[in-house]
Point group: C2
Chain length 235, copies 2
Amino acid sequence: MARARTEEIRKMMANNRLFNHLDDEEMDALLPHVQVRSYKPNQTIFLKNDPGISVMGVISGRVKISNFSGEGKEVVLNIIDPGTFFGEIALLDGKDRTANATAMDASDILVLQRRDFLPFLETHPHWAIKLIEVLCHRVRLTTELVEDSAFLTLPTRLAKRLVWLADNYGQETDEGTRIELKLTQRELGGLVGLSRENINRQLRSWHKEGLISMDSGTITIVDADTINDLADYFV
Amino acid sequence: MARARTEEIRKMMANNRLFNHLDDEEMDALLPHVQVRSYKPNQTIFLKNDPGISVMGVISGRVKISNFSGEGKEVVLNIIDPGTFFGEIALLDGKDRTANATAMDASDILVLQRRDFLPFLETHPHWAIKLIEVLCHRVRLTTELVEDSAFLTLPTRLAKRLVWLADNYGQETDEGTRIELKLTQRELGGLVGLSRENINRQLRSWHKEGLISMDSGTITIVDADTINDLADYFV
DNA sequence: TCGTGGGTGTGATAAAAATCAAACGTGTGC
DNA sequence: GCACACGTTTGATTTTTATCACACCCACGA
């Protein structure tokens, strides 16, 4: 690992809820095991069914976690942005990856091997508890996805996802909340489990009503109140 | 807690993967905090948004974990059978329940309070690791549900669920694998996110083809090979 | 015993969403 | 600069699934 990177990585880990309660000594013990890898846009980081021998964290860029059906339909399970980790499930239970990870942009990815990680876990019980909280959070989120796809209709699901994207990647502008994340409409469809054509139609329709604006692949929520209403329909 | 119950509970915990690696001493420390409650059929155990102050385990009977949409549609997230625990998410992260729990039959339920449980967790790191594995498993299962509802069509989803039910509650008979679980077609619909009418139609159709047989609310898989093929379609 | 409620079975209809098809833009690399 | 790949946009059509309506059965309690 390049020396120059060490401080950057330390800072990233200190800001991440998986690592932010390690003290300096613990951090020093972990850091030598950390590698950094660089990926080009659309490059595969790992594939479904690969053995899960590492946990990874995004330093820069973005990573898409997704799966493909036999017919080539894609479902996007998550989008990981800088400062957060992914792949911890396979790491923790030692089973295979259950999804593909792909770099969305040019990305620097932190890698921590299972063999370096597990002994550390055994000797740091308070850290295991933190992990448990992270996992609980993931269970809650995934359960919500199940309910959404059972209960919600196309516009509601899309509206809810736009609100989520705005919360996570939003930037306030004078026009509204701009989603700073280049997504194709196909990827957006994968994110809500709907076809690209219908995503387009709904976005266009909201655009005409003045609820959102679209410009070169980014979406801005102009009328946040109405979009929120659409998203909140069933809750 | 009734004395007579102690051994029963100890045995149950020894058979459960959450507790099966505690030694006798640890078990002795935990047991005094365990309560047992009895529930009638259809009785509520907890509701969505209740504070999550305990973890529970099914001693006898069965528990349905589900949620309702604003229009009264039900999605069944899980069915818990004797020997396994539920409600651990809210327990572990201290947040509210995210779903309703209802006794499906007359049920005896083991209850362990958060306040008794957390200190134990902090002092037993190997146990925290076990918990992590359980949570990982749950994430994997729930993620699979998301993919299923994005990728699979009605017959495939139902077939897959029947296979799952047969694996978990199946009893071999001379006719085939009998699912020993009384479920209404409406509940089965909730379990796969489909309408009761269409569940009925699909079951009837398979019945006519001789793939399954139906009798007083229980389903028997007669032609397991074909049902398996239907369920495996996309994988 | 009768009525009533819940579950089941089934056709007709409607709604939601996917799919098919085709035009148009746009940027990148040769 | 031009071709080509990729993304967007839109209309028409089809498929899938839900919804509505109603008959039937059966267990259970008044």
